[in-house]
Subunit: 704 residues, 2 copies
């Protein structure tokens, strides 16, 4: 991707404000003022056909008149005037334009047409566009502020913020100050006619002043590109995302269990997990995480010591650690002995370490030093409540040098308001993260641990698959150019081509033929209705198990045909499939559905007919890496019990992982596969493999 | 309960500070100062053997010398001197004493012995004790402050706070001010040698100045009394609790699935649910809920309108509504038409209503008025971000009269910091709840809806059970005076006595006898190992299903005996139980285990051997009300699918509820039943009943 084309947005030589106004109530004035007050050291030019002067500078009556250097324009003129402004910019040779003006796609079809026009003009001049309908950009360290938002701007800091919502930018700028941290970049993307979140990611992350990137997303325009680009960025710097619009993303209409369960949120979860983007549930959480990611060293593990001078907050913190997947560290005998020598007899030298209310400043500092020196301790949470003995501010001053001397993360829970204000200020000045409540500290610390584990695991490659016969799969698909469900034998053939074994199955068109095929397969057998029109066979009495002789098979054939005719009189019925019954094993569901944003989305979980009720399923993006596949097994009961449970012997985990990876690859290789699902996949004992008992595949051939 | 004995703690005529000090660094000075500065209008007395004067008052050298009126003493002398101080108080006729001094049970066995001594002295004089090891009490409207905490005290307000942790009291006093609300009472209970959270609940709730009670709990001393008292209070005023110590409450050692899954947290959840106490996950959440409960009218339903002037926050709010079990209200055609007439064409008049960034103050007020007038709207969340057009403060002023004129709750999400400060202040002054983020507003609103539903449902009585034969159950238990598992037939007998039908079952001691019993019962039959020593029968190959003839039964008998001898060579084996196989149905687990705090705790969920893996279970306290029992079915997949699912026909829900209630009553009536579990309970088709297929009951006879 040519990111050079974006550099004028972030580090322009000269900026022209088109629509600058001399009336202070107008946004065109406010934008001009912010730009000047931001301390931008490049050239600042104002354009307005009325001319005059503004903030001590001339107002040019046309873009053409703007002198060099100028490589970025910010357009804030009424919507109908924007196309002309873009033309002027193009003729003047400006290749980067922020269209702040609103009134385009967000207002309806007319606005969308006007927006389309902007894009055409931009293409004509090889121009990049941010917006329209955005509040502008801030590069806080350059410095540069092209927004029209009410001052003050955000404090300078380490966190870059990219947003699909302009209003949220205004909130964040105002809010971060009160939280004691600042921004490196702010990017308001507006309608994203051209530049999207994915393109903005790289440039803001590349700035050495950015230590963390945060994203407010209402959707993603090109899911796979986002995943690739985010994964690349995440290897360098942490990315935290808040994705909203959950309430709008209803379930998709789908014929498979996988399709019914794989909503947009599941796809986003899978995409963020794949790319290593940390997904926050709320804006507060996103920025609280970002603060810790910006300022703290990463922990080597999940063992946390808690240092407190009171019992209640210690207990609260221990709870929060457990809820966040962290552990209370077991302190070494030496640490405990040293703490015992340091602290009064009634103090608790186990973790949480409670120094008691009378703890001196020296005891605070020395206890923290002892905890950080303990090899069993990966991180410390220090609790600072208002105290009748030492002021919270003095405690903060006492521990700051200890925190700064350590390469382990120390997070402070400074509990209270007015009485702890001084402590908060000292800690912030020393770049020590502090939260009002230990739950927030524990949540942020767990994210640091996640980040450390992500980096330690290194880059993940898709699982290598042997014996995949793409040609054979292609030839089966070539025989089915129509959209809709594949016949069962074709679906089974696809799986076989990709190395997933199906229980051998043959089609009987009469009771006699069924008996013949059963004898050939060997008893006991299973009979299943063969009809592309019947989605859930067992629901209509279309499946009979464990038939042990010819009589049972003959009766079974007739029963199934009767059941099917009663339940689905309009279904076209091909006959009945006869299958040798597989040895016992564990049954799981494995499926793939094509997500509009992220492509094939793989599901694994508890199979059978109750899939949608139990919802014991997990998702990952195709193609699968080892971590993706293992993760799906770990996150589901179906996956965990493959390792054995009580009288259930261990099943063939390896074969399950292979089946998952192969199904994922199949859907990845053939975009016409809209859904493919094995339910159940019978997983036999360890080393015995896994068999697709029932497969369904639905094709939707891409248009054109 | 005689709560009059507690009234001096809350509304004393005169207070003596025993251990008042003239040295400002001492807690004895700080306590005296807080008491005087609180503006308490009763008599204030200081006691210290050194005498002198303090804060313009004489210091008496003994409690005896303190003049009338004096009905409350606060003791803050070194631990060894506390018993003598109590004696003095007793002799002076003081019946209520706060022992603020620490150094008792919390420090170890010696301290515990000293604490025991305090209790003996208190009993001797008919004296009530709060503490020891507490920070004191505040009745903020009386006013009265008996704490030694650093000033300022909490603002006057509507929320009572009762706490097991003194440090948390200090945090809360300081923190609530910054949050814009205040306290009516603060009660620090310390070690609870005498007065517990349960006793404190009534008096603080009875104060008309208290609108909500909040509890910070590290445990509960008498679970059943708490549930009764809390339920009584909750009918009058909302109670919100934060229960910490989750990390300490390990799983209990148990022989049943119920016992393994029913930890202390599940018991607390069940207790809070039963009593109507709202359980918060964090302190922030507790107080954010409390604010809304104190200031907002209750909504009539869960349909919420969102009023915003920007898209992003509207989407975020809609997400938060969904996550909190609320709904986006469908606005009436009239409301939409009126909004259309009021707002610019590009505005969204669907919910969320987006007035756009240029919205005027009049549009804010009028839009809100329209939404509140819509019968489809039960509540409104108004978003106020920093705006380049109107100041947030002006917006707040414009909407406050509309909010105050409505009987529907309106919660404000005022997003930002410095730029929205004025709005925050106006709203607080007008007693309109405001949060920095819409997620918090949605969470608080869902709690208002919960409270409204709770009140609407009225008082719940335990399910009335007919045909319970207590005498017969008592006689079965009388035959088993030993602790341990009951034989299967005795366990089945207990159930039958309480009207829960078990599949009839007889014991065979030989293969021949098994065949005979099978013929008597009618084929197909089930065989099960009969041994009190074997906990999980199917795990050892001790269960065979669907045996259809004599040969199968005879072979089955031998196979089971062989399997059991191999798997559990030391188990005493009585033989094999022969049972007619029940018609097909849905299988669930129903169990009761005795919780140390709350008594019999009932579990319902997905049965079988995977109970502990699937964890599809819910809990409630015995005896069960209709709401408890229905709730357990609603919260589990096992319960929901009883209503029918795909090809699974509806099962007998009513019989399931009855089985649950009867098992609960059995455990309630007989304290020697430590665990009783039906796994599975086979629930037949509607109207066909439910049968206990396998029952286990373990007795632990109460000591003495």
């Amino acid at each position: 991707m040519d990111n050079d084309s974006l550099s004028p947005f972030f580090t322009p030589q000269g900026v022209a404000v088109i629509g600058a106004s001399r009336e202070p109530v107008k946004l065109g004035y406010q934008l001009a003022r912010n730009l000047v007050q931001s301390g931008y050291t490049g050239a600042v030019h104002f354009v307005n056909p009325r001319g005059g002067t503004l903030l001590g500078r001339p107002i040019y009556t046309s873009v053409e008149a703007v002198p060099d250097p100028v490589d970025l324009a910010v357009v804030l003129v009424p919507p109908p005037a924007v196309p002309a402004a873009l033309h002027e910019c193009g003729r003047r040779g400006i290749k980067a334009v922020i269209v702040a003006t609103g009134g385009f796609r967000e207002t309806g079809p007319e606005g969308a047409a006007l927006e389309e026009q902007l894009l055409v003009i931009a293409h004509e001049y090889g121009m990049r566009l941010v917006g329209p309908n955005c509040v502008g950009l801030i590069n806080n360290h350059l410095p540069l502020d092209t927004t029209f938002l009410p001052p003050p701007g955000p404090p300078k800091g380490d966190v870059a913020f990219i947003s699909h919502s302009g209003a949220i930018c205004a909130v964040v700028i105002d809010w971060v100050r009160g939280q004691g941290f600042g921004l490196s970049h702010l990017v308001s993307l507006g309608n994203q006619a051209d530049v999207s979140e994915t393109e903005a990611l790289g440039p803001v992350a590349a700035d050495p002043k950015t230590r963390v990137v945060t994203l407010y997303l209402e959707g993603i325009s090109d899911g796979r590109r986002f995943v690739e680009e985010a994964a690349r960025v995440v290897r360098e710097k942490p990315v935290v995302a808040l994705k909203v619009g959950r309430f709008e993303s209803g379930r998709r209409a789908a014929a498979s269990h996988t399709g019914a369960l794989a909503g947009a949120e599941e796809a986003f979860d899978a995409a963020f997990r794949r790319s290593g983007v940390l997904r926050a549930a709320t804006m507060e959480e996103m920025f609280h995480w970002a603060q810790a990611l910006a300022w703290c060293p990463l922990p080597k593990g999940r063992n946390v010591a808690v240092l407190t001078n009171a019992g209640g907050p210690g207990v609260t913190t221990a709870d929060a650690l457990e809820l966040n997947g962290l552990r209370l560290a077991s302190l070494s005998a030496e640490t405990q002995a040293a703490l015992k020598a340091l602290l009064p007899p009634a103090a608790s030298v186990h973790n949480p370490v409670d120094m008691l209310a009378g703890a001196t400043l020296e005891q605070h500092a020395e206890s923290l030093r002892l905890l950080l020196a303990d090899a069993n301790v990966d991180a410390v949470i220090v609790i600072i409540p208002p105290s009748p003995v030492s002021s919270a501010g003095a405690v903060a001053r006492a521990i700051i040098p200890v925190i700064q001397a350590s390469d382990k993360p120390v997070l402070a829970a400074v509990m209270g308001d007015r009485l702890v204000q001084e402590a908060i200020e000292h800690l912030r000045a020393a770049r020590v993260v502090e939260y009002r409540f230990p739950e927030r500290a524990a949540s942020a610390l767990s994210v640091l641990a996640q980040r450390a584990e992500w980096l330690a695991a290194g880059e993940q490659k898709p699982i290598t698959l042997e014996g995949v016969d793409t040609a054979s799969a292609r030839s089966i698909l070539a025989h089915h150019p129509q959209d809709g469900f594949l016949p069962a034998n074709a679906a089974a053939g696809l799986l076989e081509a990709y190395g997933v074994r199906a229980a051998p199955m043959e089609l009987a068109r009469s009771a006699e033929e069924a008996v013949h095929l059963a004898q050939k397969a060997g008893y006991p057998v299973v009979l299943k209705i063969a009809s592309a029109d019947i989605t859930h066979k067992s629901d209509v009495g279309g499946v009979l198990l464990d038939l042990r002789d010819a009589k049972a098979v003959a009766q079974g054939y007739d029963a199934i045909m009767r059941n099917a005719a009663t339940a689905e009189p309009k279904a076209r019925i091909d006959g009945v499939h006869v299958q040798r019954m597989l040895p016992p094993g564990q049954e799981v569901i494995v499926g793939v559905v094509r997500d509009a944003q992220f492509g094939p989305l793989v599901m694994f979980g508890s199979g059978g007919v109750e899939v949608e009720g139990l919802k014991d399923v997990a998702f990952a993006l195709a193609p699968l890496t080892e971590r993706d596949a293992q993760g799906m097994l770990e996150r589901t009961w179906a996956g965990r019990k493959l390792g054995g449970y009580r009288n259930l012997p261990p099943a063939d985990r390896q074969a399950t992982l292979q089946a998952l990876a192969r199904l994922a690859q199949l859907a990845w290789d053939f975009p016409e596969i809209a859904e493919v699902e094995i339910n159940p996949l019978r997983v036999l004992a360890e080393g015995q493999g896994a068999y697709a008992v029932d497969v369904r595949a639905r094709l939707v051939h891409p248009a054109g």
